[in-house]
Symmetry: C3
Subunit: 290 residues, 3 copies
């Protein structure tokens, strides 16, 4: 799983969902939760399998998920029933607060896989004070869990704070989620930017997320997908620099020197591993665009 960009659209908006195949997001989410009003959820579930069949027929690239309603909601049985009959890659679970919140979804994934359908991956959204507090236990709770997302807007609303562009008020929670995800071997996907007309703000926030160790970002619009793919892909400059660094290291090692000076910095194992990771991602990107 390699998700630089994850694009949402409400499950009750077929005209938006049918456009998914036009965009280059690494993952798409059909949203039965906050995006779909209470009164429309039933109809949205009824249309789900047809919509999925439509976008598959249009050769959707990227993974396809359904966001169910929150654990404990009265919608869960119907959400799981309709989602797992459709040809999707997995489920996104909002407002995960405790490890037990995943039980119902893990069991549904096992049942669905038993009936011969494709693998069901779970993505957990950490977006409450309880979820942030319990994220370490959540990250290890369920073998189908493949990624954690951090929901900064919901988190700060749950805790009673206020979001700022700089984002220091979510730095602790955002950091705790990415550390727990990576320590558990999961992907980590960063918060949305709600100021949908401000590209610079999206880019700054994406760069901060990338620096923290996030692999990608939730997107509200196709425009944000382009920006996320850009920020979370290695730049040509990074790729070139990584090639030079690895070459310099290999030459130094051959000459018996373990720590060397490369363009004014000490090369040691962490810098080296980062350089190699950049080259690895670059090679996967070349494959996916070729």
């Amino acid at each position: 799983m390699f998700i630089r960009s994850l694009l949402f659209a409400p499950a009750n908006r077929p005209e938006l969902l049918k456009k998914f195949p036009r965009y280059r997001a690494d993952a798409f989410v059909i949203d039965l939760e906050d995006g779909t009003p209470e009164s429309e959820k039933g109809e949205a579930r009824r249309q789900l399998a047809d919509i999925v069949e439509y976008v598959r027929a249009q050769h959707l690239e990227g993974l396809l998920f359904v966001r169910t309603n929150a654990p404990g909601s009265s919608h869960i049985d119907a959400d799981l029933d309709s989602a797992l009959r459709a040809d999707i890659d997995g489920l996104m679970i909002p407002k995960v607060g405790t490890p037990a919140d995943l039980n119902r979804f893990g069991k549904a994934a096992v049942d669905a896989e038993r009936t011969g359908r494709r693998r069901v991956d779970l993505i957990g959204l950490i977006e409450t004070a309880a979820g942030v507090r319990n994220v370490q236990a959540i990250s290890a709770a369920e073998p189908h869990l493949r990624a954690l997302c951090f929901g900064g807007e919901d988190f700060i609303s749950d805790i009673g704070g206020q979001r700022t562009a700089e984002g220091l008020e979510v730095l602790y929670a955002r950091s705790q989620v990415v550390v727990a995800a990576k320590a558990a071997g999961l992907n980590a996907i960063d918060q949305v930017v709600v100021d949908i007309r401000d590209d610079e703000q999206f880019r700054r926030d994406a760069v901060m997320g990338r620096n923290l160790g996030y692999d990608g970002k939730m997107c509200l619009l196709p425009r944000q997908v382009e920006l996320a793919n850009e920020v979370f892909s290695p730049t040509q400059e990074e790729i070139d620099r990584s090639r030079r660094l690895v070459a310099a290291y290999e030459a130094a090692t051959a000459a018996g020197r373990g720590v060397i000076d490369f363009e004014g910095r000490m090369i040691d194992s962490p810098l080296l591993r980062r350089a190699r990771a950049v080259l690895d991602v670059a090679s996967r990107l070349r494959e996916s665009t070729s």
Copy 2:
């Protein structure tokens, strides 16, 4: 419990304590700990009930607490005995480092409530490296616990660091305390500002605390109480904007759209809940000033 401002005065300064009824703090603390020198603690305890009776007779608005000495101190028996004979709302416990530190206070609260006096609420001060590390367990340890305060000055002194105006050195601890408090359903009260002549610094620090999710702030002076009440109350602009947002959401929902654009931002559940919380606080403030 709704504490935007919590004003301290030393227990050995009756001339300051008697002024409490003049101020509009949401809570007041008579301080038997750091504010009162060792040699004066005995006399301060003897006068406590009379002082409390005096401020009650002067129609003190706001809750009234006594800060005892730290758990494990030789003063605790005498502190609890004098404090719980006075007509107070509860106890503030400094330097809580482990869940067990609350046991003695929880038991004293139960005993006092059994004798027919009013409810005894506990406020725990998290202000050591151990307290920050153990705050999750502390937050769930004792049913009388209603709030956690973060003591940034004491914390940074305990850990051997240095405070700055920007405050990045306490961001982790300050965030961990508010997350633990809110996940446990407790109020969260933010650190003091010791630069008592710098209104701008107080205001900046209060805004940062509010953004993080704190409900209010500890105050060293009446002047700080006014500033804290201001920052931790919703502004008229926030109230008005929240009214418009809720109205726009309701109109959109009626029309079957779940995610809409409101003044350049996407409205979804978190934004909506925040707006509704602002209107709720505003309505409580109107009641308390009417």
Copy 3:
């Protein structure tokens, strides 16, 4: 243990190791891990005891440690064997990810102490997502553990992020390590600065570390040792101010006032303890230079 500066050199570079006695680092580390290429580790181990004997004969001031390879590496037996036959003060263990990672080292320390050699202290390097997540349990796992170091470069590489000069991307991990260390009564030693030609960046990063509560800093070059000693020693101004503050407090206490105004700030216990800690370090520095 009091380590303001800890200087590394690769174990396969005797010409660098022999210069240790010229420098005033509080601790020195002979690096068998990342600094020494795979092909040179065997020869480096064989020369270790002689090198240590040489620097001891040159009256090395400061503690002397060997950094072994990571727990679980195939080098560990040979590393421990050669290191504990040399006249060193202890071991630095890289990439500690779980409490169990310390077991082998604790046992080796006990065995070595039983044979009559000097005490073996352990320093644990926290530099992976797992290590940061588990740092509280790690800090309490092993009685020989005397210090934790935070490795920001390795950590951010492990988590897949990117380092910046400002360092917000490591603030959570760096804070979590110092809080766990101090709550467990351990020393805390801060991250390296790899931009070895930028004194200002080193100084800024060292000041941030000191503010967070770190006692000292890992250094890649003798130049960084001078800067670290400077930042992590109290300044004459701080010493003088601390003397004035303590004197003012004592006068106020004698006069029965517990909270007083000192140069525009409230003096209370945390400020007082900090002032006394500054005077204590200053007195130890005077001893060590006399």
